[in-house]
């Protein structure tokens, strides 16, 4: 079976607020038990592809880690 192709929204150059909004959306979907995958993109570091349900984004791992650390601190 040929894997389905998806168009990922590239938010690598988006503002921090826009990125955080996307991460919060994915986090909300994860809370609803929707599986998520974070994979290194073929373009290499720091690009990562994040897929969760109908949300497919291309972002950078550094901003994702920063958001995750902030989220863990604030709870």
């Amino acid at each position: 079976m040929t894997p389905a192709r998806v168009n990922r929204r590239d938010i690598r150059l988006a503002s921090t607020e826009e990125k955080e909004e996307a991460y919060k959306l994915i986090d909300g979907l994860v809370d609803l038990d929707i599986p998520v995958s974070v994979k290194e993109h073929r373009s290499g570091f720091p690009a990562v592809a994040v897929d969760c349900g109908e949300v497919h984004i291309l972002t950078d791992i550094l901003s994702l880690e920063q958001w995750w650390a902030k989220k863990k601190k604030t709870g």
Partner: protein, 152 residues
Amino acid sequence: MSQLGLFETEELRQCQVEPKTTVRLGHRSAQVSMRRKQREAAEKLKAVLTELEGRDILIGEYNDFWWFSGLRLKRLKVEWGMFDEKIPGVIVLWGNKDANVRIFLDRLVDVRTQCYGGKPHYLIDFWNGFTGYPLDQYRKPGYQSLHIEAVS
């Protein structure tokens, strides 16, 4: 067998069949459960890194184009994935002064322990198919291994 309810998600998940990966070599191909291998290796890796957390480690890797050896991460802290994934896509090993090593686990296949001079050395193995038939065409085929040892 009783019918599963719509909201018994945990049981439904257990019934789901994991997709297998097609591994090719020449004209032959086989369906291999890479996901299961990855899950088992990730569990081993988690146990190893939990044991190493707080200690100083040396990390090394050999590649055709570059290599590093004995890279020291002091007082190891492990960031085990984001979004609380069951099998994390990436883990970050933090040392002091913001030194860090990121490990992407999508081609993880095994974690081995070998003892030299009474000291355990951990080998984290990644596999991307056979030469000429990579699973991911954008990465180097074959095996790669990351080497970790504790120094304190």
